[in-house]
């Protein structure tokens, strides 16, 4: 418990205020003509992320969970500064990272690094490992030419790679080792905040455990803060202090790990947890959430979850529920909480 209390006291590392991201598909020439002639065509807009507020405190591991298309990766990319939001403010240690001109904002972006799902696609196949890991610190003046070799060796060793392999190319490594290269690359520029986007999803069970252990070790060793994006609730439960659950672009629930898994408040969280296969279960009826995830092009009105929700009322179809505190540290966006 003392660790949790210390976390509460931590200063906000990242603060998102009203972050939205829309992807628009502009009409092509034929579409524009058709529209002018009165055809029922319109520009399609996907609200990938819809007015999300999120605070990540120093030293915390925040798990971001949701199914495909819920906007978790888009949110992660905006936090990492590689995708500008359509609306909203991203504060990093009190600096607005969206003010592009400021040197402080650039510094903050460098101190935020990202680790990707696919270690095959996120490493340049034509570069040697030493260059993949060492290029950025050299460019940013973190290491000098003379200290370069020793620095790369140290980065590789820390990620569990043998520096003897530094002249090799990514294709000469296994999936788990490639993910270690990605980790070494991210840590080489001395970040204090890491966004992991499905960083262990592509790995085999035994390798996944090794990489998760590396994340846990590096967290204490380097005093890191993580935003850990995953669809795998077992992994998130294990590694996170706090869990944020998204559904179709909105945060539906946010609470400390123990609370989410013991007393989920939102009906979506409850059904998500009930769907997760558990190794402890034996030959049982799988619980079923009805329906499919609706298209984000055309999300349901009101509460996005209402067509699949077992408790849906009239009000859920019209009014968007706000995310508010239901228990200390636990916030949920559900109209049911107003009735109690």
């Amino acid at each position: 418990m003392s660790a949790a209390m210390k976390l509460d006291a931590g200063a906000p590392m990242v603060e998102l205020r009203g972050i939205s991201r829309r992807f628009e598909k502009k009409l092509d020439f034929a579409g524009k003509i058709a529209k002018r002639l009165g055809a029922p065509v319109r520009e399609e807009v996907v609200h990938a992320v819809d007015k999300v507020d999120l605070t990540i405190r120093k030293g915390e591991v925040v798990g971001l969970v949701g199914e495909s298309g819920c906007g978790k990766s888009t949110l992660g990319r905006m936090v990492a500064g590689i995708l500008p939001p359509s609306d909203g403010v991203i504060m990093r240690n009190g600096t607005d990272i969206l003010s592009r001109s400021s040197a402080a904002a650039r510094e903050m972006k460098l101190r935020t690094q990202m680790i990707f799902q696919d270690p095959y696609a996120s490493l340049n196949p034509r570069m040697r490992v030493a260059d993949i890991v060492g290029e950025a610190p050299l460019v940013h003046g973190i290491v000098s030419r003379s200290g370069y070799d020793a620095y790369v060796d140290e980065q590789m060793r820390r990620a569990g790679l043998d520096p003897a392999f530094k002249r090799r190319y990514p294709h000469q490594f296994s999936g788990g080792q490639r993910q270690r290269i990605g980790i070494a690359r991210a840590l080489a520029v001395k970040p204090d905040f890491i966004v992991c986007d499905e960083a262990v999803a592509a790995l085999d069970v035994s390798i996944q455990a090794q990489i998760l252990n590396l994340f846990i070790r590096l967290r204490t060793e380097l005093d890191l803060t993580y935003l850990f994006i995953s669809h795998d609730l077992g992994v998130v439960e294990h590694i996170s202090d706090r869990v944020v659950i998204m559904y179709l672009g909105r945060v539906v629930e946010e609470a400390p790990s123990e609370t989410v898994f013991a007393q989920p408040n939102h009906p979506y969280t409850q059904s998500l947890l009930a769907s997760v296969p558990r190794i402890e279960s034996r030959k049982r009826a799988f619980s079923v959430v009805k329906g499919e995830i609706p298209s984000p092009l055309n999300p349901p009105s009101g509460c996005h979850f209402h067509p699949r929700c077992p408790h849906a009322m009239e009000r859920c179809k019209v009014e968007v529920p706000v995310l508010r505190e239901v228990a200390p540290g636990q916030r949920s966006a559900c109209h049911l909480n107003d009735q109690a």
Partner: protein
């Protein structure tokens, strides 16, 4: 163990790939039985040979691979010895396969009804209308809403989960005795995976179809399967009923796999992990293939272990199995 006649009996199956770099023994001395109406989980990590085992049974191993030994007994016939024509008669008829990617089953440029009617008529002399009726009923059975309209759709008009349901429906068209499912829910979201697993469970119970469920996910097998076989480097290292194997693993590899599942560990603490990585099948260490990663490895492990009965009804390929309760408590 139940005494009913098994649907499938695989004995000492060997599927080898004859590559320029050498012979890859992708499946090496694999034996197991699939009981009638039961689900057998075939578990392993990438490259363990679980998918090749599935392909061998249904006769879809491509060159340079071929079945180099052993037998696959299905309804008294050895599938390994059938001609291509005889095999084609069984495939999709008595034995069906579901793939991880439903687009392996579906043709993207044909409507669902065309594909399903063709499948029905490939094995049965029925009218177009009767075949269509059968397709419609099967779609309804796997939980596709308004099957009449959906028959007229193309594969791209379905979501991933619905597409997998269509692939399952096609597998069910001829009410096969055996379905081989190769990671069919791995690419799906958890809520959709839950729906599909529920449907599959219901189908196995009501139709008496046997299933081989190939997966890397022990948690899925835990809830779905009756029996389990764990593969490592082309061989089965342990098999038994799900409850026995997952609660009291005998082989150190099985115990390691179970131990590295996050929910089996204390939150925030390092996970128990298996050191090292899967060896290449081209140069396996001599003796037990798991020896180099095994915490219990000792002198006897330099020899190759055979799979043997260690406890009544429990087989494992290990000289020093975990037999005491403390050792097995993963």
């Amino acid at each position: 163990m139940s005494m009913s006649a098994p649907t499938l009996e695989v004995r000492n199956l060997q599927t080898h790939f004859f590559t320029r770099a050498g012979v890859v023994k992708a499946v090496d001395d694999v034996s197991f039985t699939v009981r009638r109406g039961k689900v057998m989980g075939l578990v392993g990590e990438s490259g363990s040979g679980k998918s090749v085992t599935g392909f061998s049974i249904i006769g879809l191993v491509d060159a340079p691979g071929r079945i180099a030994g052993g037998s696959i007994l299905f309804q008294g016939r050895d599938l390994a010895k059938l001609s291509e024509e005889e095999m084609r008669d069984l495939r999709g008829n008595r034995i069906a396969m579901i793939f991880q990617d439903p687009m392996m089953t579906l043709n993207p440029v044909l409507r669902i009804d065309t594909q399903m009617i063709e499948t029905v008529q490939a094995h049965r002399k029925v009218s177009h209308e009767a075949a269509r009726q059968r397709a419609r009923d099967t779609l309804g059975m796997v939980g596709i809403p308004s099957p009449d309209e959906r028959l007229k759709a193309y594969p791209h008009q379905f979501s991933g989960g619905m597409r997998q349901r269509v692939a399952i429906a096609i597998a069910l068209l001829h009410e096969p005795e055996l379905i081989i499912a190769d990671e069919p829910t791995t690419a799906l979201d958890v809520t959709i995976q839950g729906q599909i697993l529920a449907e599959v469970q219901k189908l196995a119970e009501t139709t008496g179809t046997s299933l081989i469920w190939i997966t890397h996910d022990l948690s899925v097998v835990a809830g779905l399967a009756d029996d389990i076989a764990v593969m490592y480097a082309g061989r089965i290292v342990e098999k038994g009923t799900v409850a026995e194997v997952l609660d009291r693993p005998l082989h150190p590899y099985t115990a390691g796999l179970i131990g590295s599942v996050p929910s089996r560990n204390k939150r925030g603490e390092p996970l128990r992990q298996i050191p090292g990585m899967t060896p290449s099948l081209l140069n396996l260490p001599p003796g037990c293939a798991f020896r180099t990663r095994c915490p219990r490895a000792a002198a006897p492990c330099m020899a190759e272990p055979d799979i043997r009965e260690i406890l009544p009804g429990r087989e494992a390929r290990c000289f020093i199995p975990l037999t005491s309760a403390e050792e097995q408590a993963a």
